[in-house]
């Protein structure tokens, strides 16, 4: 029995290594053969289906992911930190419980439903409000992604505010500080690392989101110059193209290479967030 429990215990490690091994196994022949690192990072031309001269430049896809995630964070970071401060420091009793449950329910809405909302509600709304021809663009996907990432960031940020010992607050209040002064000068500095980790995990979430971005971003390869441009994200490219490739073809392996790239980036983001959080515990 103990052996079984131990195997279960290390299963998470086995799976994460398994994920890396299997996507690398499928992507490696491309990485060692056709892959051109300069083309991958500097060319905006992703044309894997061209018959004569397929090109595999991921710059436009990276720009698409970055622009959508960037806008999402611009929307979500201030609001979710504000909400975390309200729920954690101002709200009391029933209000607090209700708000926490609401935030938790928001986090549960499936990403395909968010994508559908972008497609069927936000799209006509953006066309009407801003008088643009297409409503599936950076603005739409960024807004949707912001709403998706906010509940998670709020929850983690609120947890880290709650982790600040009450004795800190009492000490400051005893010195005559108002509640706002306590929050600004004592609680936020003490919870700083947790708040940074919350933002990082939000970025990771935005970066890896697939269905919502696929449906709401317009899915056209573009280096965006305004928030009304349609873009295409790394994740969405895999989701849209994998079904149409032959197993073992260059195109198929190129999509797995995008997967390796996504895996490594999110791994680094999660590792950084973990190290940042560990930083506070050490002190």
């Amino acid at each position: 029995m103990q052996v079984l429990v131990f195997v279960g215990g290390v299963s998470a490690i086995i799976f994460i290594i398994g994920i890396f091994v299997f996507i690398t196994k499928e992507g490696l022949p491309f990485l060692l053969g056709r892959f051109d690192i300069a083309e991958f990072f500097t060319s905006p031309r992703w044309r894997p289906t061209s018959e004569h001269n397929p090109t595999y430049g991921a710059l436009a896809l990276i720009a698409g992911t970055a622009s959508v995630t960037g806008l999402a964070m611009l929307v979500a970071v201030p609001f979710s930190l504000g909400a975390a401060i309200y729920i954690g420091e101002f709200a009391t009793g029933k209000t607090r419980e209700v708000l926490k449950v609401l935030v938790e329910l928001l986090a549960a809405i499936p990403s395909v439903v968010w994508g559908f909302i972008g497609l069927s509600i936000m799209n006509p709304l953006i066309i009407k409000l801003f008088n643009v021809p297409v409503g599936l663009n950076v603005l739409n996907a960024g807004f949707i992604l912001g709403l998706m990432a906010a509940p998670i960031m709020t929850t983690i940020a609120e947890d880290s505010l709650k982790a600040v010992p009450d004795t800190y607050r009492e000490a400051a209040e005893a010195m005559g500080a108002t509640r706002w002064q306590v929050i600004l000068r004592v609680v936020i500095p003490a919870a700083k690392n947790g708040l940074v980790a919350a933002v990082l995990l939000g970025v990771g979430r935005g970066f890896g989101e697939t269905m919502a971005v696929l449906m709401a971003s317009g899915h056209s390869i573009n280096l965006p110059t305004s928030i009304f441009d349609s873009v295409r994200a790394l994740t969405a490219t895999i989701a849209a193209e994998l079904g149409e490739t032959a197993v073992g073809s260059d195109h198929y392996r190129a999509l797995f290479t995008l997967g390796i790239f996504l895996f490594l980036i999110t791994f680094i983001i999660n590792l950084t967030a973990d190290l940042v959080v560990r930083g506070i515990r050490k002190k």
């Binding site: 309200y86 449906m215 797995f256």
Partner: protein
């Protein structure tokens, strides 16, 4: 002597102002979502009927109901649970009852965070490479469910670990003092006292699994299948993929249909979550220690 000074009054005003600002931000965060849910109910509500839930799609998915997708989602979730609950509970038992504070435990925790953080489409690629091709399950419920199981494993582990750690240490010590082994203690004291907390985690996992789309797109979910799956080696339709397909891939779908599918999907997920949250609150209220 205790009259408010001018400074007191000003401080009080400033504080009220900040409180209101943060309240406003919280409301602005929640309000759009409530409006959106309202629109979903308004546009999708009228189409939902017993017929819609229990008949098959007709005329190239532009008419009829969602029965095969509903059944498919239940299959996918059930098989995924069978795979992930035992592994997840074992992992949580190890972390909570056995694991010393060493580098291996830190690695396990990091791996759990990463399993939860890896993009869903990367899980899909893994599912294709490992289950569909390497283990030769083909595109099947089995391959899709195992992919979902690995993706949602952190949900079970985290919830179970929390409920195991909520059992007071004194319970374990009392049991050890009676001469029970570590496993006997877990089997007869720790697990019975945390089973309802574990259940809460499982319900939460059901809701997460039911809504996922990307991991099942290439591993076992089909755009359209006129029949219900007979075994775990069949492909199946699924609610989440069905919503994607009829809202982006099929022309001529009446507007209310995707709204109806979205409403049923979100209803399932939110109901599961609400049950899980309610259950958790009930348990917290009932706790004897």
């Amino acid at each position: 002597m205790f009259e408010a000074t001018e400074l007191n009054i000003r401080n009080h005003k400033v504080e009220r102002l900040w409180g209101l600002l943060f309240l406003l931000m919280t409301v602005l965060l929640i309000l759009p979502v409530l409006v959106i849910l309202g629109v979903l109910v308004y546009k999708g509500g009228p189409i939902i009927s017993v017929d819609f839930l229990f008949t098959e799609p007709k005329d190239g998915m532009t008419a009829g109901g969602i029965f095969p997708a509903l059944v498919g989602t239940i299959w996918l979730v059930a098989v995924a649970l069978l795979a992930s609950v035992p592994v997840g509970v074992a992992a949580a038992l190890y972390l909570s009852e056995y694991a010393p504070d060493n580098w291996l435990t830190r690695m396990i925790n990091l791996a759990i965070i990463n399993l939860a953080g890896v993009p869903s489409i990367v899980h899909a690629l893994f599912g294709v490479g490992a289950f569909v091709l390497f283990f030769r399950f083909g595109t099947s419920i089995l391959a899709a469910s195992l992919t979902l199981a690995i993706m949602t494993l952190p949900v079970v582990i985290v919830a179970t670990r929390e409920s195991l750690q909520a059992v007071p240490h004194a319970f374990r010590e009392a049991c050890w003092n009676m001469g029970a082994s570590r496993w006997q203690t877990i089997r007869h004291v720790v697990l019975p006292n945390s089973i309802s907390g574990i259940l809460t985690g499982v319900i939460l996992e059901v809701s997460r699994t039911a809504g996922e789309t990307a991991p099942i797109m290439f591993t076992g979910a089909a755009f359209f299948l006129p029949f219900l799956p007979q075994s775990v080696f069949d492909q199946t339709m699924a609610m989440s993929l069905h919503l994607f397909v009829i809202s982006t891939q099929v022309p001529g779908v009446p507007e209310a249909m995707p709204f109806g599918v979205a409403l049923v999907l979100i209803g399932m997920v939110l109901a599961m979550n609400a049950v899980s949250i309610g259950f958790r609150m009930y348990l917290r209220g009932k706790k004897k220690w």
